[in-house]
Assembly symmetry: none
Homo-oligomer: 208 residues x 4
Amino acid sequence: MIDATAELIAGGGADDATIMEITATAGLATGTFYNHFKDRAEIIAETAINIMEQISASINSAGLAEEDIVVRLAAGTRRFLDITYDHPTWAWAVLRAIDYLPSLRPRVYQYIGSTVRIGHEIGEFSDEDDFTLHIISSMLFAAARSRLSGQSGPETGARVAEMQLRVLGVDPARAHEAANRPVADVELAWNATPAVKGARLQEEDGRK
Amino acid sequence: MIDATAELIAGGGADDATIMEITATAGLATGTFYNHFKDRAEIIAETAINIMEQISASINSAGLAEEDIVVRLAAGTRRFLDITYDHPTWAWAVLRAIDYLPSLRPRVYQYIGSTVRIGHEIGEFSDEDDFTLHIISSMLFAAARSRLSGQSGPETGARVAEMQLRVLGVDPARAHEAANRPVADVELAWNATPAVKGARLQEEDGRK
Amino acid sequence: MIDATAELIAGGGADDATIMEITATAGLATGTFYNHFKDRAEIIAETAINIMEQISASINSAGLAEEDIVVRLAAGTRRFLDITYDHPTWAWAVLRAIDYLPSLRPRVYQYIGSTVRIGHEIGEFSDEDDFTLHIISSMLFAAARSRLSGQSGPETGARVAEMQLRVLGVDPARAHEAANRPVADVELAWNATPAVKGARLQEEDGRK
Amino acid sequence: MIDATAELIAGGGADDATIMEITATAGLATGTFYNHFKDRAEIIAETAINIMEQISASINSAGLAEEDIVVRLAAGTRRFLDITYDHPTWAWAVLRAIDYLPSLRPRVYQYIGSTVRIGHEIGEFSDEDDFTLHIISSMLFAAARSRLSGQSGPETGARVAEMQLRVLGVDPARAHEAANRPVADVELAWNATPAVKGARLQEEDGRK
DNA sequence: AATGAATGAGAGTTCATTCAT
DNA sequence: CATGAATGAACTCTCATTCAT
């Protein structure tokens, strides 16, 4: 059902991910939904978070640990955009789930946060507060949206990575170099089984 | 009805801006809606665009013409955030309308574009392409969201302005100085009468 | 407005002949309708009757007076079908108006009655009661419907005329000959001005 | 719900067979309708066809097989009119459903077709093409309407049967004799369970 | 766990009709 | 006579949710 939900959200926004549609797409009866999820918000949140989890794991599994933190951030950003482009369904599902459930934003943005935090500790990045993280993440998702909708091309990853580094106070020349260094491809190993269960949501969303 | 719509969207997202609610809030009968708008998407789009039009007009009316373009961009950003904070209803209405109608994004982002374009012509900004504009605008709206939801404080305007300038290739020191220069307050003169009529929407939104 | 109504009914049935559609098609404001008609049933009835009036007048104006009554009936039927085919809009309008307003049936069927009555007085037709008239007329309209929807061809007029004559007890051979005698074309002179005003309807229709 | 629909259509035309009325009459909630039918047109079509199916079965079950085909047609027509008169609700439902959904006409008319076709094969009837069938059926339904609305009496069946035979080229004397021969009563065994499911409709009806 | 008919609130939409201008 | 915004009842349709099987 998570897969069905992702497909539906990707196709036409979270409004289309009706409980009836989800179950129908998953080949189940309507009532079965309630044996697994509390309501629509829950499955939508879970879907988005699962996807992000897998993307994040894929990126991190690609052995970036040893690298310079500046290069690491850029590589993460670029891989994120590559994966996003290779799996538009999941990427759109996340983007649209965020639009639908505002409270998902911090949950989804956090995956990008750790690298920045490390970079700041090392002294490479000028900031690491929540606001900076929020802006950096917004840039990443804005870039993904642009790429997915065909408004920007394969250079998107390098460009936004460079911009992020500039925002983080990295010297422009170094930012440019780091953002354009070749990056190895990453494969996204999709794991159909939900990794996260019972995603908690803020009350204020007010959706049904 | 535009005002009613703005209030409702601000309150709980575009999903709450039901035609029945809109007309009830405006003190009209349900059917009256259709004497003025085709459907919900139309009034939501019109509402968002009207608000942006007024904010934009207010910012530009504040005599920024004579200034250095770098200062001008920073001042525009900061004034946008000030207005946004002073009129949370309208600001939220725009933010949530965008979440609801993806096709609104380019329409709403364009208001920020002109300054960047001028700056690039003068040679102060490194880029002015659509992608850069998209990122710069995303940062602005992400900052507004952060400020409105109380996650960041009065310094938000200056901080995001500085970040934008860095992204645009302005020297960090100059960026810092320009972003922190005092800015005169602007008053938003709200004009109840819609300035834009029959806002056109992309087909693909697929909302009702 | 009568013309507009005819068009709309012909296009999609009387349900589509909304007061708003009628006035819009006629280039008038909605409210203007009520300066001319009491309600929808009235204009629909008037439309159908006007059309029948004109068709009937055209047929009769074609100098059938002198002929043999058997030939006259056949010629009337064939001319009716010719006119019907040449002016599908008006023909469909009548057919669909009947479907919509059952009480219109006797009003519309009466136009065919006079010839049969005369024929019976002369002694050529076996019956002339209301039931026979009803059946004869039904056959005519069924044939018109068949011809208009393309289910039967140019021979329709002669065939149904022959059938009608048989029903009326005319000798089969004579019926065949009379029904297949050449008929002069008739031109339908359309008269935009309504010939009938304030068509009265049975109460039982129960439409709005 | 089929029964409720028949009642409502019979009472005031298909326009009165509102989904709300149908479900209310059937003692169900409005939404339940959509668990069984796609829309109004579907249930109306299904209702009409079910009724015709049962009438047709009743007529044919009455052991007409052995008879002379001329007598058989006449008996079928007369039994149809008898049943029609004994069950005005179902008869009106069919008549009015046809008025509402034009595309139903061929579906409903076909039930009368088989006898005519057989008669033609044997050489008793002059024609058996679609047009003839259409006219013969129209006569039957026109007679039913006349009888149901009280404009003609118990002789209706015999009279229209005789007319049909004349149209089919049967010798007038023989037609008269066959049409007036005594006919055994038939009982209509109503079968509440729909015999037909998912009645397909032409697109062009344009009703909702 | 799975099912799927039943529910009923609520949304969108249409339209006849009124009425002040 | 013409206008057209306003009205509000009526209707179609969707969906989250329940529940007996």
